[in-house]
């Protein structure tokens, strides 16, 4: 069994993501902020477990629905939330938004709004680690929809040929925007595509943090040992649909949604930790109280953060500031 401190850490990350997302949705529903928001509610387990195996030297790329990946990797909550609401205190000074979160200090190198677009970039990050004899690994998170786009296939092939230290982690939430997965692909298990490129692939229950951790542990060890890439398909579900607040989710069958809500991975993991007996309710409550405070302060910071200065339109286009 995974040691209890690691599992507590996983739960803490899951809870942090869950609380942040809950607060964000609250702000939007209350009309306090008006931004396009892609909720990752329901997918917390995956990056929370994987991040337990990563350091700040390891890098990730992710997608527009990737705030959970960014938070789990350790990006400061106040800056992440400020970025999501477009303020100058955000990770990109308000110029990226939720689709372009980044924090190079903790290895969040690129978030792509182009489906699958950051997967080839992950290869480059891994290549640099390989060429500098570092044992750092790169995790690239993408969805089931992205697993059909050409760039992902090119990247998988190249990673295998070059034996790159990359984890291709497909967060299969069964929907690409408004289209069910099985209307977009013929194969039931996405991970079988891995063998087509010459790398190992595995499918796990992405809502079981311990299972994700186990698969990722093997993959990270392989990568660090110079044995190359691994494909992990982590099966999960989007509890809030595509764009939060806009999506009525009518294309997602009601029984399916209800079952997913009932199987909510966050309280489920909490219950399991208690059941397994190594962690007490008061330890969990302490973590939760700490995170509640952290999230509240982060929201306060974000709401108080100024909107970007008009001159910021023209900065960071190039290294030099250019006029209109």
């Amino acid at each position: 069994m995974i040691d209890s401190q690691t599992r507590l850490g996983i739960y803490e990350r899951m809870y942090r993501i869950f609380r942040t997302d809950t607060e964000m949705r609250g702000l939007i529903m209350a009309g306090k902020v008006s931004v396009i928001y892609y909720s990752a509610r329901g997918q917390e387990s995956i990056p929370s477990a994987v991040s337990a195996l990563l350091t700040t030297e390891d890098t990730i790329t992710t997608t527009y629905r990737g705030m959970h990946d960014t938070i789990a990797k350790g990006a400061p909550l106040n800056e992440v939330i400020a970025e999501i609401i477009g303020r100058s205190g955000g990770t990109s000074r308000g110029k990226g938004g939720i689709m372009h979160l980044n924090d190079p200090r903790c290895g969040v190198m690129a978030t792509s709004g182009i489906v699958g677009g950051a997967v080839p970039i992950a290869n480059g990050l891994a290549l640099r680690a390989q060429m500098t004899n570092s044992d750092a690994v790169t995790v690239t998170y993408f969805g089931d929809g992205a697993s059909n786009i050409g760039a992902v296939h090119e990247a998988m092939n190249m990673a295998a040929v070059w034996n790159l230290p990359v984890l291709f982690i497909c967060q299969n939430n069964e929907y690409g925007e408004y289209t069910p997965r099985m209307e977009s692909m013929k194969v039931e298990q996405i991970s079988i595509r891995a063998s087509a490129y010459g790398m190992p692939g595995v499918t796990v229950d992405g809502n079981d943090p311990d299972a994700v951790y186990a698969a990722a542990e093997t993959a990270v060890a392989r990568a660090r040992a110079g044995e190359g890439p691994t494909f992990i398909e982590a099966k999960t579900y989007r509890l809030m649909g595509h764009v939060f607040g806009v999506d009525t989710m009518e294309y997602m069958p009601r029984e399916e949604r209800e079952a997913a809500v009932a199987a909510d991975p966050v309280p489920a993991y909490r219950a399991r930790l208690l059941e397994d007996g190594q962690i007490s309710d008061s330890e969990l409550a302490e973590v939760e109280a700490k995170v509640d405070q952290e999230v509240a302060e982060a929201i306060e910071f974000a709401l108080a953060s100024p909107i970007p200065d008009p001159s910021d339109l023209y900065t960071d286009v190039y290294a030099e500031v250019v006029p209109a």
Partner: protein
């Protein structure tokens, strides 16, 4: 500094060798670039034997993966030089170039940067037909975040590439294959062409011809011909297309009052339209003729030589345009 007479191929080969030697973070990625072939045009011959196949890295035919790998490596501290074998293939990886490389600095609020170079070959005029003959610089110029250049001679090929390698932003360099075997004096050591700096290739007083790439030697030949008719043509070789040397161009046209822009690329929506707009915005009362453009026909490039020759501008096209600025 001492110079040698080199072809553009030799100048580029030398530049890459010198950069690889000087800077351990520089490495190359592209299709077929390793020895013994050393690239579709032989530019990287000898490099993989000298620097190894990690730094001279052959890739699968996967432009999106190539550019993406360059982006990621650059973000992590390397200085990759990627190759797009034929510029038309940029269409295959335009997402990586335009949506990622060009924008990551901006989208990250300046926290991540992409100091990479991409070299692409313009293969027009060589019978390669429609999908291997396009000049696509306007695609790149139109994307804020990219720097763009096109040399017309060996020394500038070296100077632009050297400058680009050290530039903190993604630089897209277009090399005209039709000029690859033309010799020119090239400095032997480290040589740079400052970002955004044009070169006045020939001084004149009656009309300014702004050109780049293959059109520079054509413009110079046209100027020679027109000189015998008493028309004095100033030829500016832009070299850098984004940023471009507006100051040098405007000073010249202020002096001559007439301007012609010449590029190999298709006329419609070409960079010449942008240059012409900037000239007329700034020199409206001074110009004594509309700014005229000499450019490729608004067609795909045909295969048959007789047709292909009609697609691209010639010396006569430039001469004709210069004469029309005086009517």
């Amino acid at each position: 500094m001492s110079e040698s007479k080199l072809t553009m191929v030799q100048a580029l080969a030398q530049t890459l060798d010198q950069a690889l030697e000087r800077d351990p973070d520089v490495f190359l990625m592209g299709e077929d670039i390793i020895d013994p072939v050393g690239g579709a045009f032989g530019i990287t011959k000898g490099l993989s034997a000298k620097y190894g196949r990690e730094r001279i890295r052959e890739t699968p035919i996967s432009e999106q993966a190539i550019i993406g790998a360059g982006i990621g490596a650059a973000m992590a501290g390397a200085k990759p030089i990627c190759e797009v074998m034929i510029a038309d293939f940029y269409a295959v990886c335009l997402d990586q170039v335009a949506n990622h490389a060009a924008k990551l600095r901006y989208m990250s609020g300046g926290r991540t940067t992409v100091p990479m170079v991409i070299r692409g070959m313009l293969s027009g005029g060589l019978n390669f037909a429609a999908q291997h003959s396009q000049a696509v610089e306007s695609w790149m110029i139109h994307v804020p975040g990219l720097k763009v250049a096109m040399p017309s001679n060996p020394a500038d090929a070296k100077g632009i590439l050297t400058t680009a390698i050290d530039d903190p932003d993604p630089v897209v360099i277009f090399e005209p294959v039709a000029l690859y075997s033309v010799r020119g004096l090239c400095p032997d050591g480290e040589h740079r062409v400052p970002l955004g700096k044009a070169h006045i290739a020939r001084e004149g007083t009656d009309v300014t011809v702004i050109a780049y790439g293959t059109q520079v030697p054509l413009a110079l030949a046209a100027a020679d011909q027109l000189a015998t008719e008493g028309i004095s043509v100033e030829v500016i070789d832009l070299r850098w297309l984004q940023p471009w040397d507006e100051q040098t161009v405007l000073e010249s046209v202020q002096k001559t009052t007439r301007a012609v822009v010449a590029h190999q690329a298709v006329r419609r929506g070409g960079f010449g339209a942008e240059i012409a707009a900037v000239i007329q915005e700034n020199l409206w009362g001074t110009l004594r003729s509309p700014v005229l453009r000499v450019a490729g026909a608004n067609t795909p490039v045909p295969f048959a030589t007789e047709l292909e020759q009609r697609h691209f501008p010639t010396v006569d096209s430039i001469i004709d345009a210069v004469r029309r600025t005086n009517t």
